[in-house]
């Protein structure tokens, strides 16, 4: 069986700078994969290649074995790829539940003409999107938030709402871009449990880009380490932690930071 998400030989170049060189990774069904590395390692670029915001110079992206390299982000989303953003991008001017309903509309159909001319026939579909959104909020215990303006909620909660919105896509693969940044250690522990719970409930695979080892270590089945645009190691969290190349990359980065 082919993996829900696979990157093969991805390279991205900005001008003369090789941001990512020949990176491959696979996220298998039900697996949580962590993508780690020092600042500037090319993690986020790789992540954007997977979600379709960045075109690779070489390499292929596969969803369930099908080549989606040339497909735009919204088609990949409909194929089951959901993502969150490093700086949460909730839709302002909409309530939390409406934010989630945007994603839940993946399962409804209809366009401009049917929405306006055949509105009575469309009410069921619109109600369905809303119900899906409310169900996800209930699952996360966030029902009270539903009516709030998404532009006016505290930053820590926006991460949860963004996660809830991604869940409304019923993803086969959930892509999380530094989901724990800005959370304190207590919130981070809760968040780790939450991700594990979501994986269990949705049965989806997860790819996490993260700095925080408190997230990566307890959560990931496999960790891929990048440094300077290249994949330098992979394995279980324990294996990676002992890997000399990884230690060197991180310590090198720390030494450079300190200098």
């Amino acid at each position: 069986m082919s993996a829900p998400l696979e990157l093969r030989g991805i390279s991205v170049r900005f001008g003369r700078f090789d941001a990512v060189s020949d990176v491959s990774l696979a996220v298998h069904a039900g697996e949580i994969v962590g993508l780690i590395g020092p600042n500037g390692a090319g993690k986020t670029v790789t992540f954007n290649v997977a979600s379709g915001l960045q075109r690779p110079r070489a390499g292929r992206v596969l969803i369930d074995g099908a080549d989606v390299t040339g497909l735009p982000a919204h088609v990949r989303a409909r194929l089951g790829l959901a993502r969150t953003f490093q700086s949460p991008q909730l839709f302002a001017g909409m309530s939390v539940v409406e934010n989630l309903a945007v994603a839940a509309h993946r399962f409804t159909s209809g366009g401009l003409l049917t929405d306006t001319l055949l509105y009575p026939l469309r009410r069921a579909a619109l109600a369905e999107a809303r119900e899906r959104a409310e169900a996800v909020l209930r699952f996360l215990g966030l029902e009270e938030l539903g009516g709030l303006d998404a532009g006016a909620i505290p930053i820590g909660i926006t991460r949860l709402v963004e996660l809830a919105r991604a869940m409304c896509l019923r993803p086969r693969v959930l892509l999380l871009d530094e989901p724990a940044s800005g959370l304190d250690s207590h919130e981070t522990r809760d968040f780790v449990e939450l991700i594990a719970g979501i994986r269990g409930a949705l049965g989806c695979a997860v790819l996490i880009v993260e700095h925080d080892m408190d997230v990566i270590m307890p959560l990931c089945d496999e960790v891929v380490v990048m440094s300077e645009g290249q994949r330098i190691a992979s394995g279980t969290p324990a294996e990676v932690r002992e890997n000399p190349a990884v230690v060197a990359a991180y310590l090198g980065a720390i030494a450079t930071d300190a200098a």
């Binding site: 979600s51 379709g52 915001l53 735009p72 982000a73 919204h74 088609v75 989303a77 409909r78 959901a82 993502r83 953003f85 991008q89 909730l90 839709f91 302002a92 001017g93 909409m94 409406e98 934010n99 309903a101 945007v102 994603a103 509309h105 993946r106 409804t108 159909s109 209809g110 366009g111 401009l112 929405d115 306006t116 509105y119 469309r122 579909a125 619109l126 999107a129 215990g141 966030l142 029902e143 009270e144 938030l145 709030l148 303006d149 532009g151 006016a152 909620i153 505290p154 820590g156 909660i157 949860l160 919105r165 991604a166 896509l169």
Partner: protein
């Protein structure tokens, strides 16, 4: 076509091109320090030109006095703009929209004071006697043109030195880069911005006084349309480089007469060339350049939840009864006013959809109306029944909307404002003089069957408005509406939710174009003739102003906008047409001032004020938890 002729017309275009560059430098200077496009730059130049004419021609005072006085006046207005209306606002787009308010105010005030017909004698600082003449290629350049060239070159060099070597120039560059950091470094940011706007105003004034003799007319539109040329030159310079701006202006000045001669001198070709230059310059502009908060669209307007259940059906019934009864209450003029209000309200509604829901600022809605009007007139001329012709006009305008949506995909909101304004200018001069659209005498009759005239026509217009309002309200509730509202805050996130931003924008612009086109066709049907006058650039800007004043976030706000149009025509204008002359000018000026005021104190318009008042009234009841408190409560549970 002889090369000699082309060479002569090309070289002859250099002085005018230099004037484009001078005006463009004012735009660049202001953009560099405050990241705002001053769309009123042309209006400032026009103000100075009128002032110079009043001083030198009417009062027979010495020319140097007129020149200095006019430039000082423009500088003063520029400083006032910054101090009073730009500084209190946040965000590049609202600030840029305020300059449109100034454009309306200045244009209206001058028209009111001096009369807005052509035929005023311009002040002429330099003689138009030939200074250089090359008989071999039939080229003659006058002293005035030569002087203009010299002044522009001196100015360009002086500005470059100013930015590079003077304290104020360096401070301006620093403020442009980072206002907060500049403040921390001890730069008096406020003073620096005011100085930049004063200098930009002075440049606009100088170019206005110098260019009027070259253009040969002094009226209240020519210099405003001139803005498009300056925008083109400024964009060639990437909005930063003064030498490139100079080069861009001169090349544009050379290219326009050459293209015009090659194509057989069609009217409006200069604006068409400038428009093409703007599109190309924006397309090749460095992609992926720094994106900061000022690049975002308008802040989302809070939208009131739609009524449901009994309230909804009660409302629908009440509206239906009122709509059916209103036309019965009067005859003749009453029905004309009703139909007019409904048609213009429908036009404002097209902005509610595009600006209020999608967050895109379009300055060419009146062009869509014009396309709809002429399209419907062409259709009835071909024997199509009137109602079908109106739909056909709307469909043609929808196609125009789609054509605008394509560049809108890659443009930031501020750039889209430039493109749509330029399109409106181009329509004024080119499309409204283009025979396939407007016929040879630039007007097409639009015959409404006698059966549909009078009271039935009011019903038609009111029905169209209600259908449009219902459609906009339903779209906002539906699937497409979810995508349209979402992409305003974050296009990447909208894509990540499975919606194509391209498809959503196409739908938004197409529907907005359709509504505006139907409105234009209905208005033309009311007056029996499609002409360009009601659909010019000023009207496009006025429509946006009406929408912003009324409240761009609400469907009822559109009706308010339509009422403003009818109220102003009733109060100031001829009884059965759009106001013209001094009355129209006063309407324009007042609208401009109210627009500036609304942007300043009530960003969500009168409808926003009303709902805020309602919220305050309700808050007197049981206290509602604040969003933050409720979120914290939910998180801890």
């Amino acid at each position: 076509m002889s090369l000699r002729l082309l060479l002569a017309v090309g070289l002859g275009g250099i002085p005018l091109g230099a004037m484009y560059a001078l005006q463009a430098m004012g735009i660049v200077l202001i953009y560099k320090t405050s990241r705002v496009f001053n769309f009123a730059q042309g209006a400032l130049g026009m103000t100075a030109a009128y002032a110079a004419s009043a001083i030198a021609v009417d009062r027979h005072l010495p020319m140097p006095l007129a020149l200095v006085g006019a430039v000082l006046l423009a500088a003063l207005i520029g400083a006032a703009m910054e101090r009073l209306t730009i500084r209190p606002l946040r965000g590049a787009l609202p600030r840029t929209m305020v300059t449109l308010g100034w454009l309306l105010t200045l244009q209206g005030a001058l028209g009111f004071y001096f009369g807005n017909q052509a035929g005023r004698v311009a002040a002429r600082p330099f003689s138009d006697q030939a200074a250089i003449s090359v008989p071999a290629i039939a080229l003659a350049i006058g002293w005035d043109q030569l002087a203009v060239l010299g002044i522009v070159v001196v100015f360009a060099v002086a500005l470059a030195v100013f930015f590079r070597s003077t304290n104020l120039g360096i401070a301006m560059r620093a403020v442009a880069e980072d206002e907060q950091a500049s403040r921390l470094l001890g730069i008096r940011v406020d003073l620096v911005s005011t100085a930049a706007w004063a200098l930009g105003g002075a440049i606009a004034g100088l170019s206005g006084v110098l260019v009027t003799p070259l253009l040969g007319t002094l009226d209240t539109t020519t210099l405003i349309v001139f803005t498009i040329q300056a925008l083109a030159a400024a964009l060639v310079g990437g909005l930063t480089s003064l030498p490139l701006t100079l080069l861009g202006g001169v090349l544009l000045g050379v290219a326009q007469p050459v293209v015009s001669v090659l194509l057989g001198r069609p009217p409006g070709i200069n604006e068409l060339v400038a428009f093409a230059v703007i599109l190309v310059a924006l397309a090749v502009r460095r992609q992926g350049s720094r994106v900061d908060a000022s690049d975002r669209g308008l802040d989302p307007t809070p939208t009131a939840p739609l009524p449901r259940g009994r309230v909804l059906w009660g409302g629908v019934a009440a509206v239906a009864v009122i709509a059916a009864l209103l036309p019965v209450l009067g005859r003749g003029q009453w029905n004309f006013n009703l139909a007019q209000t409904a048609a213009w309200a429908l036009a404002v509604l097209s902005i509610v959809l595009l600006t209020g829901v999608v967050g895109q600022v379009s300055l060419c809605q009146a062009v869509f109306m014009g396309v709809g009007a002429f399209g419907a007139a062409i259709a009835t001329g071909a024997g199509v029944p009137f109602p079908v012709a109106v739909i056909a006009g709307g469909a043609l305008a929808a196609v125009a909307g789609l054509a605008v949506a394509v560049p809108a995909l890659r443009l930031r909101p501020l750039e889209l404002a430039i493109v749509t304004l330029s399109l409106a200018f181009t329509a004024d001069r080119f499309f409204y003089a283009w025979p396939p659209l407007v016929s040879n005498d630039q007007r097409r009759t639009l015959d409404v069957p006698a059966l549909l005239q009078g009271r039935p026509y009011s019903w038609i217009c009111i029905g169209a408005l209600l259908a449009g309002a219902a459609a906009v309200a339903l779209v906002r509730r539906g699937r497409t509406g979810a995508a349209l509202t979402a992409l305003r805050t974050s296009e990447p996130a909208t894509e990540a939710m499975g919606f194509s931003v391209l498809a959503a924008k196409l739908r938004g612009f197409g529907m907005s174009g359709f509504l505006a086109g139907v409105a234009g066709a209905l208005y033309a049907g009311l007056t029996g003739v499609a002409t360009s006058t009601p659909f010019d650039t000023t009207r496009s800007i006025l429509l946006l102003a009406f929408a912003m004043i009324a409240g761009v976030g609400s469907v009822p706000g559109a009706l308010l906008g339509g009422l403003i149009v009818t109220f102003t025509t009733l109060t100031f204008g001829a009884s059965n047409s759009i106001a013209s002359g001094a009355e129209a000018a006063s309407v324009t000026a007042i609208t401009g001032m109210v627009f500036i005021g609304v942007m300043r104190i009530a960003p969500h318009g009168l409808a926003g004020l009303a709902s805020r008042g309602l919220a305050l009234y309700r808050a007197a009841g049981p206290p509602q938890p604040t969003p933050a408190a409720a979120a914290a409560q939910a998180a801890s549970s």
